[in-house]
């Protein structure tokens, strides 16, 4: 459904995306995980036609992004990281504007707006100006807007950044509901739990490159199921083991405070890059 072949984005003297290739299958939730500045957003901007591709090629819904951007735009929805809603307009008017941009007919527009405002639990607030909305409400409206015209591929750029844990859950539920409708979703995140919870497969990005790609389970298995993590004061490196007993045994040989726990995607990232995903 989405295919990148050696994609490159060069800004003056910075190579933001450096030869990235991967494929997103139809109907899956595909995550791009990495720290800020890894090139995730730039990748999405190229796929959604907002940024020109320096080298390589990309296809979305079988359409070449550089060759036919208008056709690509008909098939995609984007919820960007910034909450770029029309704050002077109401929730209803925001969706109406979007529907009109995508040339939806009046009747279809009206039915769809109601359906989506109910789905995002904003129907009661439909006539309220968006500038009076909370961050969580804006984020829900942003996702509703992105799927208003029933795109085949949905791009979500950091969909829960800056949200409270409880509201983050609510957004995750929305995304899972969309997956069950068969929409292909490409989501970027620098939250470990988000990638783990939402994604069928995860591509790990660092410094413009894709450093690993697999299911969260496989990525963790390849690193080792159990991690022995040292306390900060201890300063030793984390080590990974396939079995719990080996991990415990190793932990007993280390001086100072250590924790034995299941490996998470951040451990995978650290093992691959030697760096930490910082917020």
């Amino acid at each position: 459904m989405v295919r990148l072949d050696n994609l490159v984005k060069q800004f003056d003297d910075v190579r933001a995306v450096d030869g990235v290739s991967f494929e997103v299958r139809s109907g899956e939730v595909f995550g791009l995980l990495g720290p800020n500045g890894a090139g995730k957003t730039t990748t999405i901007r190229m796929l959604t036609t907002l940024a020109a591709i320096t080298a390589g090629s990309a296809e979305v819904a079988g359409i070449n992004v550089s060759r036919d951007p208008i056709a690509v735009k008909q098939n995609i929805g984007l919820a960007p990281q910034g909450l770029n809603l029309e704050i002077e307009l109401s929730a209803y008017e925001n969706l109406e504007f979007h529907g009109r941009l995508h040339r939806m007919r009046k009747r279809d527009r009206e039915t769809r707006i109601r359906e989506l405002l109910e789905f995002s639990e904003l129907w009661d607030k439909r006539d309220v100006q968006v500038q009076k909305f909370s961050g969580g409400m804006k984020r829900r409206l942003l996702i509703a807007r992105a799927i208003m015209h029933r795109p085949r591929v949905l791009f979500l750029d950091e969909p829960t950044v800056g949200l409270d844990p409880q509201i983050r859950r609510r957004v995750w539920e929305m995304i899972m509901a969309l997956k069950s409708e068969g929409i292909t979703i490409l989501v970027t995140t620098h939250y470990i739990e988000e990638a783990d919870f939402l994604c069928d497969r995860v591509g790990i990005m660092n410094r413009g490159r894709l450093v690993a790609l697999d299911t969260p389970e496989n990525l963790k298995n390849q690193t080792g199921r159990f991690a022995v993590v040292c306390s900060r004061s201890n300063g030793c490196n984390a080590r990974f083991f396939d079995g719990r007993e080996e991990a415990v045994q190793h932990a007993s040989t280390v001086e100072g405070d250590v924790t034995v726990r299941q490996t998470n995607l951040e451990d995978v990232f650290i093992a691959l890059t030697g760096e930490v995903i910082r917020d």
Binding site: R45, T48, T49, L50, A51, A52, I70, A71, K73, Q74, I76, L78, P80, G82, N84, L85, E86, I87, E88, L89, E93, F97, H98, R100, L101, H102, R103, R145
Partner: protein
């Protein structure tokens, strides 16, 4: 094929204007009222230009100036904020509406703003009982002028990279044009080469055309030709700048 998406862009602008109608109304009135008071009644009292009084002379110029300002500022400021601050332009850029339709929708919204301002001053003129005529030809030129400056507004918003750039553009391009385009004085009183130089400004031709029409004289063909040429050129440049915009 004509992309009807321009109407959606225009519709959104009209919706926004409706919501802040009083702000738009008062914003359109302040500057022309100040000019009317300063130049019409203040400095202009007792001044005669040719056969008529100064108010009859200056009013069409102020209408041209207001149409320019309302259209240019209305388009450039909102678009610049949408590009740099709210990023709402991204939603439009990822929709299948073509760059030309985006440009046209915005420029037409500028035309409405320009026409609205012009109508307000025409009303003031009627109240003051000026000896001027405001017919369909007059309003067609206001429309053409607003179109050209709406397009310049799109172009400026696309090319500038910060709010400061935008202010500089206004200071170095729009402000000199406002004062030097024969709005408050007749270009004929200037010595050469200044008289010829100010003919570069589209607003000079707007003022000349509106002044001729308001005093029931025939419009110089050159004024209409230059104004139309500017409208077309600026629209093409604006469309290309939207097309090349990368965020």
């Amino acid at each position: 094929m004509i992309d009807l998406g321009f109407y959606t862009i225009f519709w959104r602008e009209m919706l926004a204007i409706r919501k802040k109608f009083w702000k738009v109304l008062s914003g359109s009135l302040v500057m022309p009222l100040l000019y009317l008071v300063t130049f019409g009644w203040g400095i202009g009292r007792g001044v005669r230009v040719g056969q008529g009084n100064y108010m009859d002379f200056v009013l069409p110029g102020i209408i041209a100036l207001s149409a320019m300002n309302s259209s240019f500022n209305g388009v450039s400021v909102t678009l610049n904020i949408s590009k740099l601050y709210y990023k709402t332009i991204e939603e439009i850029l990822v929709s299948p509406v073509s760059p030309w339709a985006i440009t046209l929708g915005r420029v037409l919204a500028g035309c409405v703003r320009g026409m609205f301002s012009a109508c307000l001053i025409v009303l003031i003129g009627l109240v003051l009982d000026v000896n001027l005529k405001f017919g369909p030809g007059f309003f067609s030129v206001v429309l053409l002028l607003s179109f050209a400056f709406g397009a310049l507004g799109v172009l400026a918003a696309m090319l500038t990279r910060s709010h400061e750039d935008m202010t500089n553009f206004s200071n170095f391009v729009i402000l000199p044009m406002a004062f030097l385009s024969g709005t408050f004085f007749s270009p004929d009183v200037l010595p050469e080469p200044f008289r010829s130089l100010i003919l570069i400004y589209p607003l000079t031709h707007g003022s000349i055309a509106l002044r001729s029409l308001a005093s029931a004289q025939s419009v110089p063909f050159s004024a209409l030709a230059v104004l139309s040429g500017y409208a077309l050129l600026l629209f093409v440049l604006a469309g290309l700048s939207v097309k090349r915009l990368e965020l």
